[in-house]
């Protein structure tokens, strides 16, 4: 049985570049959802989002999303301390949704004579496809093993980690660089605006006053590694990825199955694959979008799997918004760090728990509590459900 451990971490988040900035923000319960600057929102229901601040380092001829991916992936690889040969054999699995859409939109709008908020380089247009992130990462970082781009909407980043873990467990590779990246795009912002799913204020997951989600952006990558391989080279082990599962609702284009059937199956399967009983799980990093549909159904699924009030539940999206393809990996990273530091991150802006959410949602302030197992949930439109189960190192 080949076990999978996490040996490298990298992130760019609405708190800025780096894992340290991300964890500092998340552990402090800081909300990084602010007035939006990247896209035009006049007349929209919401004008706030969680943008990566102060520009994103790198050439403007790379798409913003490519630059986010490159920064986070490079940090993860450096953190893991892999040799060039180990990088060359590693798998590269990337969760993506928007690709270079932000730049493509700006180019198209300008050609149609419309003013655009953010300038965009025509050079970035070659990176329009979601698979461009993996192209860029492979060529710049020389990660040359099996390569896949997963597009499963809001669970893409989590799915990339699940697939990478399978490649390692199955013996195809010893090391994988996996995660997700997304920049804010007009199509995403306008789409959720049109669906009336955006809260005009920063989102309030699981709160009875919630009015919808907030959009965010960023990237996070994890280096996953076969446990014996990691031990042999003396790598730092942050946590184990003890189990992962993907299930499908096939119920509706946007709404989850009303019984949360696919969500519950994802959680139960991940636990079964990790050989972990529900009672051994202390923390759930929820999908927690702060839409009525998600929060109530996710809470019902959690209740079925864990029992009422039997686990701490919080939503990182209350601080960094919904970062789309990056969400699953940024939230997996928060889950790993929660285990490593013995600190459960809070749900910001959470005042009055919805009576239909019978859980301690860790309101506003992080909780110092040592947890042995934690799961991270990610549920994409169309019912693409992913649960990742992590175990504390040591």
């Amino acid at each position: 049985m080949r076990r999978v451990v996490v040996t490298g971490l990298g992130a760019v988040s609405p708190f800025g570049a780096g894992v340290k900035a991300y964890w500092t923000g998340v552990a402090a319960g800081t909300c990084a959802i602010r007035p939006i600057s990247l896209v035009e929102t006049a007349g929209f229901r919401s004008q706030v989002a969680a943008e990566v601040p102060e520009g994103v380092a790198g050439s403007s001829r790379r798409s913003r999303a490519d630059r986010l991916a490159l920064l986070a992936a490079r940090e993860a690889l450096d953190d893991a301390g892999l040799t060039a040969a180990e990088r060359a054999d590693a798998a590269l699995i990337v969760g993506a949704v928007g690709g270079g859409m932000l730049e493509a939109e700006a180019w198209h709008w300008r050609r149609r004579g419309r003013a655009v908020t953010a300038r965009a380089s025509a050079g970035a247009l070659r990176s329009i496809l979601p698979s461009s992130h993996a192209d860029t990462l492979a060529s710049r970082l020389h990660v040359l093993g099996p390569r896949e781009t997963l597009v499963t909407a809001c669970s893409s980043g989590a799915a990339s980690l699940a697939v990478a873990a399978d490649l390692i467990a199955d013996g195809l590779v010893d090391v994988a660089l996996a995660g997700g990246a997304d920049a804010i795009t007009r199509i995403c912002y306008m789409g959720f605006n049109a669906l009336k799913l955006l809260d005009p204020a920063p989102c309030r997951p699981f709160d009875r006053e919630r009015k919808g989600m907030s959009i965010g952006e960023g990237a996070a990558f994890l280096v996953l590694e076969e446990a014996a391989h990691a031990r042999a080279r003396g790598a730092r082990e942050y946590a184990a990825l003890a189990g992962a599962a993907m299930t499908t609702d096939a119920f509706h284009v946007t709404a989850p199955h009303p019984d949360g059937d696919g969500m519950a199956r994802a959680m139960r399967t991940a636990l079964a694959r990790g050989g972990v009983a529900p009672a051994a799980v202390g923390y759930v990093n929820a999908h927690g979008t702060a839409t009525l549909q998600n929060d109530r159904i996710e809470a019902a699924a959690l209740r079925r799997v864990f029992g009422e009030g039997r686990v701490l539940v919080s939503s990182t999206k209350s601080m960094i918004g919904h970062t789309m393809a990056a969400a699953g990996s940024l939230e997996a990273l928060a889950t790993v760090l929660a285990l490593a530091h013995g600190v459960v991150p809070p749900t910001a802006q959470h005042e009055h728990t919805d009576p239909d959410v019978p859980f301690d949602c860790v309101p506003r302030v992080a909780r110092a509590v040592s947890v042995d197992h934690a799961i991270s949930n990610s549920f994409g439109f169309g019912g693409q459900n992913v649960t990742l189960l992590f175990r504390r190192a040591g």
Partner: protein, 91 residues
């Protein structure tokens, strides 16, 4: 940075990032035209120029502003070396 060092870096980029034949690149002079379609040129196409401009930005820490006409600077290794020497932050 010395012009010779800049030139060597640029030749390295043509080989490692743009995948031009190392022997062909070794023979280049400062005056050899870069763009495809010009007599005696190295033969860079539009995607090559994007890759080259990214590589120059990353290697020499020169942010390029596209509101400026960059084409004359990318005419030859001579013009590009001069452009880089003028803008590169002094080490």
């Amino acid at each position: 940075m010395e012009p010779k060092e800049v030139l060597d870096e640029l030749k390295g980029i043509l080989v490692s990032r743009l995948k031009f034949d190392p022997r062909r690149v070794a023979d280049l002079t400062m005056e050899t035209p870069l763009p495809k379609g010009v007599d005696g040129a190295v033969g860079l196409d539009s995607l090559d120029f994007i890759e080259l401009s990214i590589a120059v930005e990353e290697r020499f820490a020169i942010p390029m502003d596209e509101s400026e006409d960059l084409v004359p600077h990318f005419a030859s290794l001579e013009s590009l070396s001069r452009f880089i020497a003028e803008r590169a932050p002094s080490a």
